[in-house]
C-alpha cells in the first residue's frame, strides 16, 4: 500500500478522535434538552467557566481579585498555594453543582410552564452573564491548564506503525490527549447510560424527559430533577473544558467549542446520548476526510467548519429528528 493510503487512515483515526472531542461538548446539550426541552445556549460558556474555575483553584488564585483591589486599594492576587489537580477538579465540580442549584433557584423555578423559546432566551442571558462573571472572577488572561494528561504524538504508535507505508510514511500520528479523551468519553457515556437505566434518579430523569406532567403526577420533583440534570451537564462541561483547555489554553474562545457541537446535535439528535457520540464521530471523520481528499488539494483548505454543517444539513433532509432523535408528533 502507498504511504498516501496510510495517511488517509491516519486522517480517519484523527477524525474519530476529533469527533470524540465534539461529542464531549454535545453531551451537555443533550442532557439538558432531554430532561427539560431547553436548548442550553450557555453550555459553551459553562465549559469555559468550569475550566477557569479549575485553573483558579489549581493556582490558588483569589476570586474577584481585581474587583477587591479596585474597591479596597489592595494588591492581592493569589493565596500563595497551589492545589493538586485532583482536589482542584473536585472543588471545580462543587462550584458547577452550586451553579446548577442557583440556576434552578434563580432562573428555572420562575419559568416553569413557559414556552421553550422563553427558556432558550433565558439561557442566552445566562451565557452573557457568565461570560462577564467568569472574567470578573478569574480574569480574562489566557491560562495554562495542566492536570497531568500528556500531550503530543504517541511515540509507541508512531514507531510501531512506521514500517507500514515505506520510507515516505512516518507512522500513525495519534495525540495522547485525544486517546485519553476517548477513554474518558467512553467511561462518561457508559456511566451516564447506566445511571439513566438502572438508578431511581435516572428513571425519574427519563420520566421527566418523556412527560413533565405525568412525572409530576406520580410525585417526581421537577425542580430536583432540573438541579440534577444541570449538575451533570456542569460536570460534562468541566470534562469538555479540561480536554479543550489542555489543547489551547483557557480563554474566551473555549466557549466557542459549542459551535462544533451544533452539527453533531443536528446529526445525532438532541435527545440521544449515543446519538451525540455517533454524531460526533461522523462529523469528525466526515470533515477531516473531506479536507484531506477534497478540501486541501482542490478547494484551498479550511473546509471543515462549513462541511460539518453541510453534512448535518444533508442528514436533516432525510431525518429531521437526527439519527437517534425522537420523532415528535404533535396532534392539533
Amino acid at each position: 500500500m502507498p504511504a498516501e493510503f496510510y495517511y488517509g487512515v491516519e486522517v480517519f483515526l484523527n477524525g474519530l478522535m476529533a469527533g470524540v472531542m465534539y461529542s464531549l461538548v454535545a453531551l451537555g446539550f443533550v442532557l439538558i434538552f432531554k430532561a427539560s426541552g431547553i436548548f442550553n445556549y450557555a453550555q459553551g460558556i459553562m465549559a469555559l467557566f468550569a475550566a477557569m474555575t479549575l485553573v483558579g483553584f489549581q493556582e490558588g488564585q483569589i476570586p474577584f481579585a481585581h474587583l477587591i483591589n479596585a474597591v479596597f486599594g489592595t494588591e492581592v492576587h493569589h493565596f500563595g498555594w497551589t492545589m493538586p489537580a485532583f482536589f482542584a477538579i473536585l472543588f471545580a465540580l462543587g462550584v458547577m453543582l452550586l451553579f446548577a442549584f442557583l440556576v434552578e433557584k434563580l432562573i428555572l423555578k420562575h419559568l416553569v410552564n413557559q414556552e421553550p423559546i422563553i427558556l432558550f432566551m433565558a439561557t442566552i442571558g445566562l451565557a452573557y452573564f457568565m461570560e462577564g462573571f467568569g472574567d470578573l472572577m478569574w480574569g480574562s488572561n489566557v491560562k495554562k491548564l495542566d492536570i497531568g494528561i500528556p500531550q503530543g504524538g504517541n511515540f509507541w504508535i508512531e514507531e510501531n506503525t512506521a514500517f507500514l507505508g515505506g520510507a515516505d510514511f512516518y507512522g500513525f500520528y495519534l495525540d495522547t490527549l485525544d486517546i485519553y479523551a476517548t477513554v474518558i468519553a467512553a467511561v462518561l457515556v457508559t456511566s451516564l447510560v447506566l445511571f439513566s437505566q438502572y438508578t431511581k434518579t435516572g428513571r425519574a430523569l427519563r420520566a421527566v424527559a418523556d412527560d413533565h406532567q405525568a412525572a409530576l403526577s406520580v410525585g417526581i420533583s421537577l425542580r430536583s430533577i432540573w438541579v440534577i440534570v444541570w449538575g451533570i451537564a456542569g460536570f460534562v462541561a468541566l470534562v469538555a473544558g479540561i480536554m479543550w483547555g489542555s489543547k489551547s489554553g483557557v480563554q474566551f474562545s473555549l466557549s466557542l467549542i459549542a459551535l462544533k457541537a451544533l452539527p453533531v446535535l443536528m446529526l445525532g439528535g438532541f435527545t440521544s446520548i449515543p446519538g451525540a457520540i455517533i454524531g460526533g464521530l461522523i462529523i469528525g471523520v466526515g470533515e477531516k476526510m473531506f479536507e484531506f481528499l477534497i478540501g486541501a488539494p482542490l478547494l484551498g483548505g479550511a473546509t471543515e467548519n462549513w462541511f460539518a454543517y453541510m453534512l448535518a444539513l444533508v442528514f436533516l433532509v432525510f431525518r429531521p429528528q437526527g439519527l437517534f432523535g425522537e420523532k415528535i408528533i404533535e396532534r392539533v
Binding site: Y7, D146, Q151, K260, K288, A296
Partner: protein, 428 residues
C-alpha cells in the same frame, strides 16, 4: 470587563457628554471582550496607560488634555465601523482600528471625512503608497515587510540559498491572514523555495488537519499569520508533532506571551517577528509606575505590564501622540484638527534621541514619513521565546527587507486602487 475599566468608561462617557472642552481626542477601537480579547486587552491597556501618563505627568500634549475614548469592537468589522461612526464626531484626531478588516472598511470613510488612520503593522499594505492613500499610514512596518523579513531570516540561516526548501504559511482565513500571500508568492519565484498555504478558519481552535498536513509534507520552515486562540493552538500542535520550534516563525501578531505560555516548555525556541523591543527594562516604566500604576489609574490589573502587546499599545499611543505634538508645532495652535494631524503624520519622523527622551531608548528603529512613503522604514527584527525564563529575547537587529519586491507590489496594488477610485497622484 474590569470594574476599573467600567468606571473609566463611565467617567469618559460623562466627559464626552459635557460641554466641549479643548481636548485632543484619541479614540481607540479595542476588544476587551470576545474571542480575541486575550490579545486586545494588553494592547488596549498599554495604549490607555500611555495616554493617562501624558495627562498625569505632562498635563496632556502641549498643555492640552488628552481625551481618550475606548470603543469595543470585539474584533468585529461591523462593530468597528459603528465605533468609527459613533466617535468621529467627538473631534477624533486619528483612528487606530487594530484590525485589518476594520481598516479596509474605514479607508474610504475616513478619507472622505478627512481623518487619518494609523494601521501600525496591519491593515492594507499598499496604503504605504501615500501618493494614492492620502489619509492612511501604516508605519513603521507592514505585512509585506513582515513576509520579506521571515524569508530574509530563513535566507540568513541557510547562507543565502533556499532553493528547493519547503516553506508553509499557516494563516488566519481572513483579510488579515491573506495579506502576506502575494508577497510570499513573489519571493517564492525569486528565491526558488516551494510555498504551501494552509488556511485556518476563525477562531482557530481546531487545526488538526493543517498540522497533519505539515507532518506529512515536512516543510523546512513554517510561518504563521495568526491571531487570538489560533496562535497558542498552532504552537501546541507544532509541539505535538515535534516540529522544530526554531523553524517556526510567526508574524508580530503571533508573538506575545499569551501565544506561547499555554504550550509551556514545548514552546521553547519559537520565533516571531518584532517591530519593537521587548520587556519592561525601559525608563518609561518608572514613570508609568509613579504617575499611573501607583495612583491606581492603570487601565488593567497590571498583569500585562511589560508584555509584548502592552509594549505595542505604548508604542502605538506614542506614535500617535508624537504626531499630534508635531501637528501643534506645524499649525502653531494647541487645539489641532484631524487635518493638522494628517499633515503632521505625513511629515513625521522619530529618532533614537527622541525615543530615549520619551523613556524608550533602543526600543524601535528611527524612521521618517513622506508624502510618497506612508509605510516607514521597512525594518523588522526576530525575537525568540525562552520558555524557562518565560521571556522573549531579540535575536536579530532591525534588518532591511526586500524593498525591490515589496515596492513593486505596493505600486501595483495601489495603482489598481487608484484606477478603481479615480485617484490621481497627489505628491506630484
Amino acid at each position: 470587563m474590569k470594574l476599573k475599566t467600567l468606571i473609566v468608561g463611565a467617567v469618559t462617557a460623562l466627559a464626552v457628554a459635557s460641554p466641549a472642552l479643548a481636548d485632543l481626542t484619541f479614540p481607540n477601537l479595542t476588544y476587551r471582550t470576545g474571542p480575541y480579547a486575550v490579545n486586545g486587552i494588553p494592547y488596549a491597556d498599554g495604549y490607555a496607560d500611555y495616554m493617562t501618563l501624558l495627562n498625569e505627568r505632562d498635563g496632556g500634549i502641549g498643555g492640552v488634555n488628552v481625551n481618550y475614548i475606548e470603543c469595543e469592537t470585539q474584533y468585529n468589522t461591523e462593530k468597528g465601523v459603528e465605533c468609527y461612526e459613533n466617535t468621529k464626531g467627538e473631534g477624533s484626531l486619528v483612528y487606530q482600528p487594530m484590525s485589518t478588516g476594520i481598516t479596509y472598511q474605514l479607508i474610504p470613510k475616513a478619507t472622505a471625512d478627512g481623518i487619518p488612520i494609523l494601521s501600525m503593522g496591519y491593515g492594507r499594505t499598499s496604503a504605504a503608497n501615500g501618493k494614492v492613500f492620502s489619509h492612511v499610514f501604516n508605519y513603521p512596518a507592514n505585512y509585506w515587510v513582515g513576509a520579506s523579513a521571515v524569508i530574509n531570516h530563513i535566507l540568513d540561516l541557510n547562507n543565502g540559498n533556499i532553493k528547493g526548501k519547503k516553506i508553509a504559511l499557516v494563516y488566519h482565513n481572513s483579510a488579515y491572514g491573506k495579506e502576506p500571500i502575494r508577497t510570499l508568492q513573489e519571493l517564492e519565484k525569486k528565491h526558488g523555495f516551494k510555498l504551501s498555504l494552509l488556511p485556518v478558519d476563525h477562531p482557530g481552535q481546531e487545526q488538526k488537519s493543517q498540522w497533519l498536513q505539515i507532518r506529512r509534507e515536512r516543510p523546512d520552515y513554517v510561518t504563521m499569520w495568526g491571531w487570538g486562540v489560533m496562535n497558542p493552538t498552532a504552537i501546541q500542535e507544532a509541539a505535538n508533532i515535534r516540529y522544530p520550534m526554531e523553524n517556526f516563525i510567526g508574524v508580530w501578531w503571533s508573538g506575545s506571551e499569551g501565544d506561547v505560555l499555554p504550550a509551556g516548555d514545548a514552546a521553547h525556541g519559537y520565533k516571531s517577528l518584532a517591530m519593537h523591543n521587548t520587556g519592561s527594562d525601559f525608563p518609561i516604566y518608572a514613570d508609568l509606575k509613579k504617575h499611573v500604576y501607583d495612583k491606581g489609574l492603570a487601565a488593567g490589573d497590571g498583569s500585562s505590564s511589560g508584555q509584548v502587546l502592552y509594549n505595542r499599545g505604548l508604542y502605538a499611543a506614542m506614535l500617535a501622540t508624537e504626531a499630534a505634538r508635531l501637528a501643534q508645532k506645524m499649525s502653531g495652535k494647541a487645539d489641532i484638527s484631524p487635518a493638522d494631524m494628517r499633515d503632521a503624520m505625513e511629515a513625521f519622523s522619530i529618532d533614537e534621541g527622541r525615543m530615549a527622551a520619551l523613556g524608550l531608548p533602543n526600543f524601535a528603529p528611527s524612521f521618517s514619513v513622506s508624502c510618497e512613503n506612508h509605510g516607514g522604514p521597512g525594518l523588522a527584527a526576530i525575537q525568540q521565546w525562552d520558555a524557562k525564563a518565560k521571556k522573549w529575547s531579540m535575536v536579530t537587529d532591525f534588518l532591511e527587507t526586500d524593498g525591490e519586491v515589496i515596492n513593486a507590489l505596493i505600486a501595483e496594488d495601489s495603482s489598481a486602487y487608484a484606477a478603481e477610485n479615480k485617484i490621481t497622484d497627489r505628491c506630484g
